[in-house]
């Protein structure tokens, strides 16, 4: 006997999020990197910043660290966001 049932998943409902416009190049761009604040991320993001500047010729890397790594980034840390061309959220442990 066949069984019909309902899908239990979110079915890719992604809330209000949409992809930001893609950049053609990172050269001379201002790129912000948000760290979740765990100590282990520091050397990783140091190396990442170096790669952005040397390999991709990024003009400036803005390092942001969340106040609490378990909650969304505080709005007060995003006050300068209009100046950024790209924002990368980093998670590490």
């Amino acid at each position: 006997m066949t069984i019909e049932f309902l899908d239990p998943t979110h079915e890719n409902a992604s809330g209000a999020f949409t992809l930001a416009p893609r950049l053609n190049t990172l050269e001379d761009a201002v790129v912000a990197v948000i760290s979740n604040g765990k100590k282990g991320t520091i050397p990783f993001f140091d190396a990442f910043e170096h790669a952005l500047k040397t390999t991709h010729k990024v003009g400036e890397v803005v390092r942001i660290t969340k106040f609490n790594y378990s909650t969304p980034v505080d709005a007060s840390l995003l006050g300068d966001a209009e100046r950024w061309h790209a924002l990368i959220a980093g998670v590490g442990d």
Partner: protein, 352 residues
């Protein structure tokens, strides 16, 4: 009266019950145990029991802004084995978990590997034949097992909290299958947990806490409340030394044999909370004794309390009649997440 529900979830068709099991397991839509196929009639029965339309908004997960509807919660509740009467309890638990102070995303994604402890109070316990005595922290009865599992399946399927996906737990613990118990309100003069936390006396309620695994204690060699609590405190201090030093909600489970001694001495839950708050403290230098000297630095004389305040201790009456055992349930990570108590059937942010 049965409502006619308009479901938005996609419908799937399989050949038979066994095919349904393979469908769920192959897509990681289950925790590894068999599931009840959530047919539209079973889902509708849950919604009818709770008097909720399918599209009713239970809440919004704040990090991914994902709206959780009654329909999706009911689908997962059916899968977990819930009967319609269990569904309002699941809704209350999910609603509580969506309050900002619970920090749902952090609590369910952390490497720390906590689970959601659910404590049930009120008349609903007896209506659903919940058992709060023998093996209280184990599989005691149908209702608590399926309610705890339903919460986990909602996390799995609606928020992708599966191991290796959003769930980044290093170890986790067995409470991630189901971590739900009711309080033994009949066999104690103590106020029920929910009532202590502000729920009216005759309402049923859930309390949720982002919790580590239970740590069992034993002391049957004294009748003095202070000495009994010293054993609980020692376990709390051990958790602070071995796991996390930061203050947060701790829960203690007190079975009848130990409760008798508190009752004879006239100790209330409030008295217990005050004692534990005063005594559950360690100095940071103690970390050096268990291999964590690297983070003591010059702060060795700093005292750390287990509790932010006495109210951060959840005292739960539960357990079998014999044995001087008890349990300490530590928080996931200090006060990052706070326990939330919610009346079953309560409306949050409703427009009246």
């Amino acid at each position: 009266m049965t409502q006619t529900h308009i479901f938005t979830a996609k419908r799937h068709l399989v050949e038979d019950f066994n095919a349904a099991q393979e469908w769920f397991h192959s897509r990681k839509w289950s925790d590894g145990l068999p599931v009840v196929p959530p047919t539209p009639d079973l889902v509708a029965a849950c919604l009818d029991w709770a008097l909720l339309p399918a599209g009713h908004l239970i809440g919004v997960e704040p990090v991914r802004e994902r709206a959780i509807t009654a329909e999706k919660v009911a689908i997962n509740a059916v899968m977990a084995g819930c009967l319609p009467m269990h569904f309002p309890v699941v809704v209350a638990a999910i609603t509580a978990m969506l309050q900002d102070s619970f920090v749902l995303h952090g609590a369910t994604s952390s490497t720390g590997g906590c689970a959601v402890l659910i404590v049930i109070n009120g008349r609903v316990r007896r209506e659903q034949s919940m058992e709060a005595t023998f093996s209280a922290l184990g599989p005691t009865d149908r209702a608590t097992m399926v309610i705890g599992r339903a919460v986990r399946l909602v996390l799995y399927n609606f928020l992708d909290v599966r191991p290796g996906e959003v769930d980044r737990s290093t170890l986790g613990h067995p409470g991630k299958i189901s971590y739900c118990l009711s309080e033994d309100e009949e066999n104690t003069p103590w106020l029920p947990l929910a009532e202590e936390r502000g729920v009216p006396p005759h309402a049923s309620a859930v309390t949720v806490m982002a919790a580590g695994s239970p740590r069992q204690i034993l002391n049957e060699w004294t009748t003095q409340p202070e000495e009994l609590l010293d054993t609980y405190v020692a376990e709390i201090k051990a958790s602070m030394r071995h796991y996390s030093i930061w203050p947060g909600n701790y829960a203690i489970v007190v079975p009848p044999q130990l409760r008798t001694h508190f009752d004879v001495a006239g100790w209330s839950k409030a008295d217990i909370r005050e004692y534990v708050f005063a005594h559950a403290r360690i100095h940071r230098r103690e970390w050096a004794e268990c291999g964590k000297g690297a983070v003591v630095a010059e702060k060795g004389d700093r005292e750390h309390a287990a509790l932010v305040s006495p109210d951060h201790l959840l005292v739960i009456a539960a357990g079998g009649p014999a044995g001087g055992f008890g349990a300490v349930i530590p928080p996931w990570f200090g006060k990052t997440s706070q326990a939330v108590t919610m009346a079953i059937g309560a409306c949050v942010d409703c427009e009246i």
